[in-house]
Amino acid sequence: MAAIETNRLTRKFGELTAVNRINLQVQEGELFGFLGPNGAGKTTTLNMLCTLLAPTSGSARVNGFDVQSQPDEVRRSIGMVFQDPSLDEELTGWENLELHAEMYGMRNAAPRIHEMLQLVDLEEKRNNQVKEYSGGMKRRLEIARGLIHHPRVLFLDEPTLGLDPQTRRHIGEYVKKMNRKEKVTVILTTHYLEEADNLCDRIAIVDYGKVVALDTPKKLKKKHGGGTLEDVFIKLTGREIREEKGNAMEGFRARVRAMRR
């Protein structure tokens, strides 16, 4: 069974089609890169896969569960690290993970919380309030949190955004370690193409809501004239600068404004 399977998955915001009939298959245990320029539809796709947003048409199954008719089953079987921070800063690292475990109905979660904290090297800081953490520590805590309840798929939406190369490298290693150790399928979006090249088994490049390329990093580079993955990316998605980073609706509004001019 595929970990993720979408069938002509589509999401429209008014006139704008943010995700346009995407067909994807991600195998269990894969570390899958989901790349594309700002506003290409990455986050919108992720939001549909994690049941926060309903598709306009088409369907998607996560771990065999339909995102629309079985949202609770989907939610129980996935972990999510959002693009923007989503921790309670007033609580300690431990309390954040404990809250998560309780929300997912886990019993005697303490050993698992310790295990995850050790995995991301935050065991010693567990009793500090999250507001005292650095950006990288918060990210690691979120990754640990996303895995507490033994999800079979972990979504990471730009987990390394705004972090320095050292921290990015570390997070990359954690992600790989999780993928191997927990045998969890990872769906990763990032703008750091070198990172995607190093980490991912396969990569999908999306643009204007459509998949424009899908293969292993190696084959992608070979097929599109060598060079780095970034060269391939630019070749496939063009040089034009897209609108500022933001949610799909902002992107939509920006395009509407642009059309009126």
Binding site: C50, T51, L52, D72, E73, R75, R76, M80, F82, D84, P85, S86, L87, D88, E89, E90, L91, E95, L99, H100, E102, M103, Y104, G105, Q129, R145
Partner: protein, 249 residues
């Protein structure tokens, strides 16, 4: 235990933890009611009194109503902060029903508001105000209803607001008028007709009136009416809060 019940308890606990951790917020929130009691009570109390009752004693239940109103609405409105700081998304993607999220938030807000009201009750003897604590049972029931209604109202407002900037408007044009019109600071007996009408559409009026009955043994409306209106208001607010919250998210 169902996933809903567990989520309610978890979110309730979170509100309490956050409240207990914000010591400055507790002190800050008690400042205004304390000064209202002390300054208004002393200042106006030198001119007005109601038979054997001092003015400060008369407004004490009203000030408790004020604490409940402010603390509850604010607690509900913190949904906006949960949204802004992203925490709400973490809850929304968890396998728990939406109603459990609203219920947990409401119970948490109620508890913290009632704790603040009880702290004021503890301060009162220091100011020389003696209430009839025999009515504490009735008072607690009223406090639960008042706080539930206003937390839910806060959640409803939060679901319609983008960020905390609008909170000042809500404060000045909804919360403050509700407080001033509630009869917390003056008796309802001799008001001009139009004004009396306005006070009677304010749900807090019935809360303050009921608290006055519980603590002072005197009230403008019969107690069953206070309870009746509060129950209706609370049900309406909880319905609106849950509906708007689910719709927004």
């Amino acid at each position: 235990m169902s996933s809903g019940t567990r989520a309610i308890i978890t979110l309730w606990k979170r509100e309490l933890l956050r409240f207990l951790r914000a010591k400055s917020r507790i002190i800050g929130s008690l400042g205004m009611p304390f000064f209202f009691l002390l300054f208004l009570g002393t200042g106006l109390g030198s001119t007005f009194s109601f038979g054997s009752m001092s003015y400060m004693q008369f407004i004490a239940p009203g000030i408790i109503g004020m604490v409940l109103l402010f603390a509850s609405v604010f607690s509900g409105v913190t949904v906006i902060m949960d949204r802004q700081f992203g925490f709400l998304k973490e809850i929304m993607v968890a396998p728990v029903p939406r109603w459990a999220i609203v219920t947990g938030k409401t119970l948490g807000g109620m508890t913290t508001a009632i704790i603040q009201a009880l702290l004021i009750l503890l301060i009162l003897p220091l100011l020389g105000v003696n209430l009839d604590y025999g009515g504490l049972g009735i008072a607690l029931l009223l406090m639960a209803l008042i706080s539930a209604g206003f937390v839910a109202l806060g959640i409803a407002i939060a679901s319609k607001m983008e960020d905390m900037h609008g909170f000042q408007i809500i404060m000045n044009f909804l919360i403050m008028p509700m407080f001033f019109l509630s009869g917390a600071l003056f008796p309802l007996d001799n008001l001009p007709g139009w004004f009396k009408g306005v006070t009677m559409i304010d749900p807090l009026t019935y809360g303050v009136d009921g608290l006055r009955y519980a603590f002072l043994g005197t009230s403008h409306f019969p107690l069953w009416m206070d309870f009746g209106v509060l129950i209706a208001f609370t049900l309406l607010a909880v319905g609106a809060g849950s509906f708007l919250f689910s719709q927004r998210n």
